[in-house]
Amino acid sequence: MTGKPQDKTEPAAPPAISNEPRATLGAQIVIDALEQEGTEVAFGFPGGAIIDVFDMLNRSEKIRFVLVRHEQGAMHMAEGYARSTGKVGVVLVTSGPGATNTVTGLADAYMDSIPLVVISGQVATPLIGNDAFQEADVVGITRPVTKHNYLVKNVRELPQILRNAFHIARTGRPGPVVVDIPKDIQKATLEHGVYPDEPLLPGYHVRTSAPIEKVKQAWDLIKRSKRPLIYAGGGVINADAADELFQFATRANIPVTTTLMGLGAFPETHPLSLLMLGMHGTVYANKAVQTCDVLIAIGSRFDDRVTGKISEFAPNAKIIHADIDPSSISKNVEVDVDLVGDAKNILRDLNKLADRCDTDEWVELITQWKNQYPLRYNHCGDEEIKPQYLIEQVCRLAPDDAIIASEVGQHQMWTAQYYTFTRPRCWLTSGGLGTMGYGFPAAIGAQVAHPGRLVIDIAGDGSIQMNIQEMATAVYNNLPVKVVIVNNGWLGMVRQWQDLFYQKNYSATELVRPRPAKDPSSYGSWEGQDYRPNFAELARAYGAWGKRVTKRSELEPALKEAFSNDQLCLIDVWVTREENVYPMVPAGASLNQMLEGMA
């Protein structure tokens, strides 16, 4: 093999773009398809095998392109865009490393049911399988982390495949779809190509409504129960069913707890809200699960972080499970009534039957638990900043329609606990995969979609460094995201597990200069520490606004200044170093066994 460039043909002369439906280049078909599908923004990064598509991209007047600094950033931006709008997120990348860098984002979107279409360039068809430059088996690599994927083998298939890809991504349980397009297909000409109106998918069926007998059966069970509980997940948000859920819960007088992905599906200011359940859920939400006699799961999937030890989960309850994905039903927990369909339709059908249930005693009992076991933390010192306090202040100072993103770890759980979510599509987090580095690009994607709204990424000092290069993307695209770093100098969630379950053996979790292991008394202090990088200076190096906050009295002015600023802002807040997230159900334990932590 010689090192010849893979493509020796001369760049094609710029084609005359016309409305005539013939003699269209493959690359142009891609752009036309994006426009037909209503794509307003695409995220990505160019390269040799996708250059033809990019050659057409900047001629489009409808598509705004956001050039990222790493393809993983593009993926999470598209996820943040999709989650905050309900539209399909679009990513364009090149072959080989461009495509493999999307894998984490694909897995993330697949776990959290986020609609994406990722278009990747591929080496020319005759080179496939030859270990060509920047070649990777992209359909092979991405098959387990996509809802579906395509390798386009003929330009004649291209329009239908793109139409199918968007349909699959946005319907049913949403998810990511990859379309891998070899370079020669992008350069090929299609005669009489017309973008199809309909997908062609004989084997793909989405059940939109549950059978009405099943809905009646579910309602009868609820009506006869004394202690019903709604457990709502991200499916309620994906289905835009928050209004229907509110109507159902308030009409029938049933308390609601939400999953991490479901935060915002029901207003946490409402008396019927029990906030989040599960490993770091509230004591009262978990007590309610363990006490309820009917559990109504809507758009949630009985994840192990929600159920704890499954054989002891909701021991007294009949289970009703509404989900659009039939394979979620009875996967982890045996279900008594299954409602397969779109959450919005199912809740609408339930609302036709619903009236007030006899739940006053139950709601009263839960109210007692709320008073008895509130979320709580202790202040210590005048100027020390507790991470929970920081989240409360962000919540207090941000407007109701602020969009909050998080990374993954302790700060994510504190945000889930202490930020009061009242609206759907205002919370962007990596729930299923737990991807550090998700939040900042997701916030950028949401800011692209909502230029007038405040978008805040609540980050950890570990996570933020996983996609911090996207500061350049935010600065050059005038996206005034606010990054609040909950900085404790640790990979805090791993440290918490080491603290509680590994005899404080803090192996490889301290992010500031490690102290001698023989002197454990020096752990947990900021004294003598100087965090590298200096995040505020780093922000300024990128042309953004940056500030370090180490004292409680400095916090509010800094947050106010950042929130009213019209540029990218980063606030590095040094918080109490050794704070743990409580309550906590140890992994694999029953929800009854909560560690409550400090009083």
Binding site: V139, G140, R143, P144, K147, H148, L151, I168, L201, P202, G203, Y204, L295, I310, S311, F313, A314, P315, N316, A317, K318, I319, D325, P326, S327, I329, S330, K331, N332, V333, E334
Partner: protein
């Protein structure tokens, strides 16, 4: 009462799945990936085009418990390329199932050859190749017959076995369940 879907019902069973899929590259990998990603086993798998060249038929024999069968059915149905999924217990009398087998048996003298030929006749098998040292027996049948034939041939020295994997079909007009 909430019960773990993965506990209980752990009785070992075996199902035959007939799956009609779009006849395009990558579909077999998707089906195989569905099993490997979940640690499920495939006992046998056969794939070929159907009467409609755009459709392939897969016959998959899966060992496991009831929950595995239920997940396999749901996950197969979930694949975008899947057109139909049907499954039956291997003991179900509503299906006909057959496997083809080629057995190379050691046969280096006339007596052995005569005996093997007699055995083949009993099982309605054919001798499809004869050499100085060995014979190849071709047989078709259900699992019981194939198993019995192999047992009969065992004493002569089985040199090689190639099996097609089971194919199956529901009796009657339609196999829709």
């Amino acid at each position: 009462m909430a019960t773990n879907a993965n506990n209980g019902n752990q009785e070992f069973i075996r199902h035959i799945f007939f799956v009609l899929v779009e006849n395009r590259s990558g579909v077999l990998a998707r089906v195989a990936g569905l099993f490997s990603a979940r640690g499920y086993n495939i006992e046998s798998l056969s794939v070929a085009e159907t009467e409609n060249p755009q459709v392939s038929r897969m016959t998959i024999v899966v060992p496991g418990d009831r929950n595995i069968m239920s997940q396999v059915r749901k996950q197969l149905s979930k694949l975008v390329d899947t057109l139909e999924v049907h499954d039956f217990s291997v003991e179900d009398r509503d299906i006909v199932d057959r496997e083809m087998i080629l057995v190379k048996v050691s046969a280096d003298d006339g007596t052995k050859r005569t005996q093997i030929l007699q055995i083949a006749n009993v099982y309605r098998a054919k001798i499809v190749n004869l050499s100085e040292q060995s014979m190849i027996v071709e047989a078709t049948g259900n699992q019981g017959k194939i198993h019995a034939l192999l047992q009969c041939l065992e004493p002569y020295g089985i040199l090689e076995v190639a099996r097609s994997g089971r194919v199956a079909m529901a009796r009657g007009i339609s196999e829709k369940t």
